[in-house]
């Protein structure tokens, strides 16, 4: 026994420690911990420094030119004598492209995440998820090159038919679903089961024909559209939606997985179908994670530079009419990238600082959306845990 203790202490040195050794250990512990703290806080410090240095170069712009021109004018002539720095159209362009890509990527991304987590068998998911995540590994310049050299000319030559097919593929399932649901709702009040089924079938047929007619009409209108320039907001929105898809799919799939077996099995035990389980149990439970995924995806689209610089056409105007996605737009990020070269402190101060003002605007937007998403996640967690 005694020998055993000696052996143990000999190996780890845990039992007999001299005062000197203890002191040394204490110092080493403090040093190690502060080192780790320093490394951890370095990330936070970097963020603060970015904010500080961007702001330091952005503020002189507002001192020189005031706020109103930047936010209300859409005359962007930085090289003019004197220069005009109205960024309204550029801010609008950024918003337009981000909104467009979000509208495309969020439904697709969430649907793909649901499919991956709850519908596909495990063996398929094992391969499907890494493949989707591989989209994130493609450099943005490759996306931009594709958008400029392949997709833009394609939109110009076959724009109408492409739009028509996209409309059919995206709208047909939704309209069919809507027809079924509406027919069910209308006939739900009929008491007699036989006549209810008959009525439901008739209504479904009528609605389906109506939906088909609507699909066909919109499709033929879209097919008639001729796209004048392929480097436009639509092109960039589509490419950006592909770029933010892996983020959205991956993060929301993780959130859906985190819901766990117990909730799913509880739902099935209560007699819910798979669709009901997904819509009424899993999605609400995972909603905070999904919202975080969506905001991450939006940020990806807002901050992307290379693709928009190459393929958005870069005309600093508000499209006419305002929702026309087939016109070229210019975004904040592309403007910073494109105008940075010329705008040196040496050659023109307002022209240099206005780009930092744009950078600050982007930083502030992403900061606030991160804040909002954080709030939503926290609140959702509270609701779910029943507090």
């Amino acid at each position: 026994m005694n020998e055993e203790v000696r052996k143990e202490s000999g190996r780890s040195g845990a039992f007999i420690i001299s005062a000197r050794k203890r002191k040394f250990q204490k110092i080493a512990k403090t040093a190690g911990e502060s080192m780790l703290l320093l490394i951890a806080s370095f990330v936070a410090i970097v963020v603060l420094f970015i904010f500080y240095f961007v702001a330091v170069d952005a503020i002189p712009y507002f001192q020189l030119r005031g706020f109103s021109e930047f936010f209300t004018s859409s005359n962007w002539y930085p090289a003019g004598e004197p220069g005009e720095f109205g960024a309204l159209a550029i801010i609008y362009g950024s918003g337009m492209v981000t909104l467009g890509s979000t509208l495309l990527s969020v439904p697709m991304g969430i649907a793909a995440a649901i499919c991956l987590s709850d519908i596909l068998p495990f063996s398929v998911r094992q391969y499907a998820k890494p493949i989707i995540e591989m989209l994130a590994a493609i450099p943005s310049v490759a996306f931009g090159f594709f958008a400029l050299v392949i997709f833009a000319p394609l939109l110009q030559t076959h724009g109408g038919p492409i739009l028509m097919w996209v409309w059919w593929v995206l709208a047909a399932p939704f309209l069919l679903l809507a027809a079924i649901v509406i027919a069910d709702l209308i006939t739900a009040k009929i008491q007699d089961q036989n006549s209810r089924e008959r009525m439901s079938k008739v209504l479904l047929a009528v609605f389906s024909v109506g939906a088909l007619g609507f699909l066909y009409w919109v499709g033929s209108v879209l097919q008639g559209i001729e796209i004048l320039t392929g480097t436009n907001a639509l092109n960039v929105s589509i490419i950006l939606s592909f770029m933010s898809l892996p983020t959205i799919v991956s993060v929301s799939e993780d959130a859906l997985q985190a819901v766990g077996r117990d909730l799913r099995e509880g739902s099935y035990a209560l007699g819910a179908t798979r669709a009901e389980t997904i819509v009424k149990t899993i999605l609400p439970a995972a909603s905070s994670g999904i919202i975080a995924a969506v905001i991450l995806g939006v940020m990806r689209a807002l901050g992307e530079t290379m693709v928009v610089w190459m393929a958005s056409g870069n005309s600093s105007h508000i499209p006419d009419p305002w929702f026309n996605y087939l016109e070229a737009v210019r975004t904040l990020t592309a403007t910073i990238a494109g105008d940075m070269g010329e705008a040196d402190q040496v050659t023109g101060s307002a022209r240099y600082h206005v780009l930092f003002a744009m950078g600050l605007l982007l930083l502030v937007i992403s900061f606030f959306s991160n804040l909002v998403s954080e709030r939503i996640v926290v609140r959702q967690r509270k609701i779910l845990s029943g507090q």
Binding site: S74, N75, W76, Y77, P78, A79, G80, E81, A89, V141, G144, L148, V149, A152, P153, Q156, L228, T229, G230, T231, M306, W309, M310, G313, N314, S315, S316, H317, E327, A328, R330, A337, G338, D339, M340, G341, E342, D344, V346, T347, G348
Partner: protein
């Protein structure tokens, strides 16, 4: 992409510069139009004299900036230095010296399927200011004009504005912007109703140059001065060049230099 390349070039430079030593390396930066010329000169010069020459293309504005900041030995510009840049250089104790390398025409190009053959300077100006928006206003088909310009750091853009539109006119907000000669060529070649402008050396069969005031852009018309949209291309050095730097700057005056200039589609001065 150009900027990324530029950054990479700068990084490589920062790493490589001490190894070669300043005297053994010539660094060029500036216009994308002068770029191919500078690169060919560099290859020739390295082969003949064993002197390392590095060429970046980040736009005329950046070239001038580089010369003023001392990050390059020669700035390649497709326009003359602006008074503001000259005064900034003077403030840093540098007196830039101008050397004309070659002449270049700015060709107005359209899609090969576009029937328009000739435009006057006034018509081009009207298209770029946004007064004309349809090809039928200049005798073409009934189609909206897609106007394509360069970024504001482009010397070609500034030379075009000065030569065609006058100092005060502003290009329409609807005009699309592309980052390089190559990008403009690509867009015009693939867009039926586009118009853009390119350095003469970049024109090939994928796009169709139009005559300006009745004169087609070519080496002969630029040299004779009859093509109205032409300009000199410059090397700028900080002070009078000496030694290898002088040899490099004088290359365009040699027989081989002249051959390189004309091989690339530029015009010997």
């Amino acid at each position: 992409m150009k900027r990324v390349l530029f950054m990479m070039a700068m990084f490589i430079l920062a790493v490589a510069a001490p190894a070669f030593g300043a005297a053994n390396t010539i660094v060029l930066d500036g216009s994308t139009t002068v770029g191919p010329l500078a690169k060919s000169f560099a290859a020739y010069f390295t082969k003949k004299y064993g002197v390392k020459v590095m060429v970046s293309e980040s736009g005329s504005g950046n070239g001038a900036k580089g010369l003023i900041n001392g990050s390059c030995d020669i700035a390649t510009l497709s326009r003359a230095m602006k008074p503001r840049e000259l005064s900034a250089a003077k403030a840093k104790g540098i007196s830039p010296v101008q050397h004309i390398v070659a002449l270049d025409g700015i060709a107005m190009v359209v899609h090969p399927g576009n029937p328009v053959k000739n435009l006057t300077k006034a018509q081009i100006a009207a298209i770029y200011t946004g007064r004309f928006t349809n090809w039928k206003e200049v005798g073409g088909p009934n189609a909206k004009i897609v106007v394509i310009q360069r970024e504001s750091n482009s010397g070609t853009q500034e030379a075009f504005k000065e030569l065609v539109m006058g100092k005060t006119a502003q290009i329409s907000k609807d005009a699309e912007t592309q980052a390089s000669n190559g990008a403009i060529k690509n867009r015009v070649a693939s867009t039926r109703s586009a118009i853009g402008f390119l350095g003469l050396g970049f024109v090939d069969r994928s796009v169709k140059p139009v005559a300006v005031n009745g004169v087609l852009p070519s080496v002969a018309t630029v040299k004779s001065g009859s093509y109205p949209v032409s300009r000199p291309l410059y090397f700028y050095t900080a002070g009078q060049p000496t030694g290898t730097l002088k040899k490099f700057v004088d290359l365009p005056k040699t027989v081989d230099g002249k051959r390189i200039v004309s091989e690339l589609g530029f015009v010997v001065k």
